[in-house]
């Protein structure tokens, strides 16, 4: 099961598919200050990603996957840092 929904932290593992976006979003709606552990997540469906972004979720453990670590995790962090206003458009970053 790619989703393990705890009381405050969701653990995402493997490939999170579009089907998992719904339970994830439901969990995000009822969880205050949600956190997400992406360590073993290899891919995140766009629907799940935008749910995480909308919930301004905090990343508790960075993903091991190179693509997610390079591009998705910073994005989530940027959103989490700007809770109720629009996120900065151009906090640009260089490729490593």
């Amino acid at each position: 099961m790619p989703l393990q929904l705890g009381s405050r932290t969701a653990v995402l593992e493997g490939t999170v598919t579009v089907e998992e976006a719904e339970p994830l979003a439901a969990w995000l709606r009822q969880t205050a200050g949600p956190r997400v552990n992406l360590r073993d997540c290899s891919h995140l469906h766009t629907a799940a990603l935008q749910a995480l972004l909308a919930a301004r979720v905090k990343v508790s453990v960075l993903p091991a996957d190179a693509f997610l670590r390079a591009w998705v995790a910073p994005l989530l962090e940027r959103f989490a840092a700007t809770p109720d206003q629009k996120p900065l458009a151009n906090s640009s970053k260089e490729a490593s």
Binding site: V18, A21, E22, L24, A25, L28, R29, H43, L44, H45, T46, A47, A48, L49, Q50, A51, L53, A54, A55, R56, F67, A70, W71, V72, L75, F79, D84, K86, P87, A89, N90, S91, S92, K93, E94, A95
Partner: protein, 782 residues
């Protein structure tokens, strides 16, 4: 290799490459065959498609170039010529060379980019030169309507800071980078699309910016199934690669080339005002396009001198790079026509508002380009092939081998039943003994069928071993300037995988040899009254337990006199011996180690290892090699190979109180004769058998075993050896039996004198003798 997909790709690559190779060779002969062109194109396309699943841009780029060329051939725009086939073969050879590295490391070798680029350019040259009569110019025509000179404002979304950081690099290298803007529509999730997954597949991603709308609602009133994100990215991957990734959503994505000039303009312009749109192209742009058009007029008017051509090219190049087009200069020493076409293409690419291109060439090229990008990257329905192939199971060889081992053990266990029956009978249980024997017959039949079934799984057609020949013949005949037609017969004849695999290498030697030494140059053939085109025949026919493979040419045959002289010069045979040798025996000398008739070592053959290597390889397989030379008419080399190596029939013998096995293939006959008929010649015991002298050697002596007492009769096992028959004196003969021969391993590995061990039904481990080694020992004892 951890990625199972990649493992599968590597496994399939070999098949696809073989398919492409074979198709190309057939195509060269019959360029009009539409089905063939389609088949090759499909294989190349599948290859490119699969390579796109992995981060192997070099591979994708090269196969893409090959695919484009094939596509032009398919559409009839280009006639296929030998040069193009050379280029295509080179491309797939390069790919073949990369595959092992990819298999080991997951990425292409470091040199791949350079090699691939060179070959791809070669392919593109062929494409450009002939397609529309245009010159080798690589003007990137973006599929999107955005002119490369004026970048769309969304490029700025990538972050001005990032772009500014990129600018010096672009300026320094003169390279360009691709920017893409991907706006998935609201309902894309419902069509099974995953935008993030697509973006992930973009090779060589430099920067990725994911943007959510400013009014991204809080999670409570958020619809997770309405796609709201937008992706902007920079990548070093080629335009086609990027377009390939987004081939299913072309209308949601926009890709542009970003060059230093255009980027600088965007950044500077962006500071002051909105980026200019295409409609109001800056004055500078118009001037530059005008400049290009002027060069065109210079070239088109009258007869240009070389100097004026060079000058025009220089000006055009500068103008084009200022326009932000990525340009390669035309080939050195290209004629005015080619240069004119090149400038035309530039003018067309610049989107000249001043002088419409009058020649049809650039229009054609653009059309071709559009067509290519339209149907090239779109996935062919490869699914058909996939379903057709699903009836075939690909199994690791080790699994089949394990099955074979188990069958072998079953056979051994089964063979113990007669012993049990005998024991039962001895103890007076006759009925029981009978029943055991009946059961034995049943088990025996089933296990034999089982064994046959497993052996069938391991059977491969000889065509697998022949597969390399067409390419070899083509390359060599071109290199040697000979004309050779290759004919294959009986390719469907099957033999064990091990045999087929070990046959491939000797066949290559034989084909090389035939082309190099056997087949004469065309003039010589015509002079000899033969057709100019030589015929090389590869034929396989089943022959009982064996397969006969023939390599026959209609060349000059073995030049006995020359072989005689060379054999003497190389000190292979002494002069006195040569005198007494028959022509057939002399011809056999081509298999002697170190023999070569070539005066010079060419890269084709003549190193004097070929034929020797052929014979030892075939003998290692348990086969034989014979020649049939018809001087002036041709040479046939016949290989006789066992169908399988796994099960061998051996004759059981006893010597020095121990049982041994001798491969039945080596046995000529068994003789029991009184000692009185053994005579002595030169102090050696010999037996005269049907007017032939057979030297005798006691097996016990050869193996350092205690000799048994001599009875009245002597049992002689006559075996076939390279130096004629040898009579091996043994104590007694037993029956012959099928065994699964296992090579000696562990501490015993490499022990000379034995070719392996086998387990007998009564549990005895049988040592199977190596007749060749026995003969060596007998010769040494003389």
């Amino acid at each position: 290799m951890t990625n199972p997909l990649l493992a599968q790709f590597v496994a399939e690559a070999a098949d696809l490459l073989a398919e492409v190779d074979e198709g190309l060779l057939r195509l060269e002969r019959d360029p009009a065959d539409v089905d063939l062109v389609n088949a090759v194109f499909r294989a190349a396309h599948t290859f490119k498609g699969s390579s796109g699943l992995f981060d192997l841009p070099e591979l994708t780029r090269l196969t893409h170039a090959a695919e484009d060329l094939l596509d032009a051939v398919r559409s009839g725009a280009l006639p296929l010529d030998a040069e193009m086939v050379d280029g295509l073969l080179a491309a797939f050879d390069a790919v073949r060379a990369w595959i092992p590295v990819i298999e080991a490391t997951g990425s292409a070798p470091a040199s791949a980019a350079a090699t691939g680029e060179a070959i791809a350019r070669r392919l593109r040259t062929a494409l450009g030169d002939d397609a529309g009569g245009s010159s080798p110019v690589t003007v990137t025509v973006a599929a999107t309507p955005v002119a490369p000179t004026v970048l769309a404002p969304w490029v700025l979304d990538l972050g001005e800071e990032t772009l500014r950081g990129l600018l010096p690099w672009l300026e320094a290298t003169g390279a360009s980078i691709r920017a893409l803007d991907y706006r998935p529509d609201d309902g894309c999730f419902f069509r099974g699309e995953d935008p993030l997954h697509l973006v992930r597949q973009v090779p060589a991603l430099e920067v990725l910016e994911v943007r959510a709308p400013d009014d991204l609602p809080a999670v409570t009133e958020f619809d997770e199934y309405e796609s709201v994100l937008r992706f902007t990215a920079l990548t070093r991957a080629a335009m086609q690669e990027v377009q390939y990734v987004f081939r299913y959503v072309p209308n949601q994505v926009e890709v542009v080339e970003v060059t230093a000039a255009a980027l600088a303009r965007l950044l500077d312009g962006g500071d002051e005002a909105e980026a200019p749109t295409e409609a109001e192209a800056p004055e500078e742009h118009r001037v530059l396009v005008g400049l290009l058009a002027a060069q065109r007029r210079v070239l088109a008017a009258g007869v240009p001198t070389p100097a004026s051509v060079t000058a025009a090219v220089r000006v055009a190049l500068r103008a084009a790079s200022a326009l932000g087009l990525s340009v390669t200069s035309p080939a050195e020493g290209a004629g005015p026509e080619a240069v004119l076409a090149w400038v035309d293409a530039l003018v067309a690419a610049a989107g000249s508002p001043v002088v419409p291109a009058q020649r049809t060439a650039p229009v054609d090229e653009q059309d071709a380009g559009a067509e290519r990008s339209a149907d090239g990257p779109v996935g062919e329905p490869a699914t058909e092939d996939a379903t057709a192939g699903s009836r075939i199971l690909k199994i690791e060889q080790s699994k089949v081998d394990r099955l074979l081992d188990l069958v072998g053990e079953l056979v051994v266990a089964k063979n113990s039943l007669p012993f049990v029956a005998a024991a039962a009978e001895e103890e007076g249980h006759r009925v029981l003994a009978r029943r055991i024997k009946d059961e034995y017959a049943v088990v025996s039949r089933v296990s034999e069928e089982l064994q046959q079934a497993v052996m069938d799984v391991r059977m491969l057609p000889v065509s697998t071993a022949f597969a390399r020949a067409p390419r070899l013949v083509r390359d060599l005949s071109r290199k040697l300037g000979k004309r050779v037609r290759l004919v294959q017969e009986g390719e469907e004849t099957a033999a064990d995988k091990d045999v087929i695999e070990m046959l491939a290498e000797p066949l290559v030697h034989l084909v090389r040899n035939s082309l190099d030494h056997g087949i004469e140059p065309p003039e010589e053939r015509v002079a000899a009254g033969k057709p100019e085109e030589a015929t090389l025949l590869l034929r396989a026919v089943p022959d009982g337990d064996a397969v006969l493979v023939e390599v026959a040419d209609d060349g000059r045959g073995i030049d006995v006199e020359r072989v005689r002289r060379k054999a003497y010069e190389r000190g292979i045979v002494e002069e006195s011996a040569l005198e007494s040798m028959s022509d057939a025996q002399i011809a056999e000398l081509i298999f002697a180690p170190g023999f070569s008739t070539a005066d010079q070592v060419s890269d084709v053959s003549g190193r004097g290892v070929g034929m020797d290597a052929v014979r030892s390889a075939i003998e290692r397989l348990g086969g034989t090699v014979t020649t049939d030379s018809r001087p002036g008419q041709g040479l046939t080399i016949r290989l006789r190979l066992p169908l399988t190596m796994a099960v061998s029939r051996v004759l059981l013998i006893t010597a020095g109180g121990q049982r041994f096995g001798v491969p039945i293939d080596d046995v000529v006959e068994t003789v029991r004769t009184p000692w009185s008929s053994v005579t002595r010649v030169a102090g050696r015991e010999v037996l005269v058998l049907r007017d032939e002298i057979v030297p005798l050697a006691p097996l016990a002596g050869l193996l350092d075993l205690p000799a048994a007492d001599r009875g009245d009769e002597v049992s002689v096992l006559v075996v076939r050896t390279a130096t004629g028959p040898l009579g091996v004196v043994v104590d007694r003969f037993h029956q012959n039996t099928d065994v699964i021969l296992k090579p000696l391993d562990g501490l015993l590995a490499g022990t000379p004198g034995y070719c392996g061990t086998a387990l007998l039904g009564d549990g005895l481990v049988l040592l199977v003798l190596d007749v060749k080694e026995l003969n060596n020992r007998a010769a040494a004892a003389r």
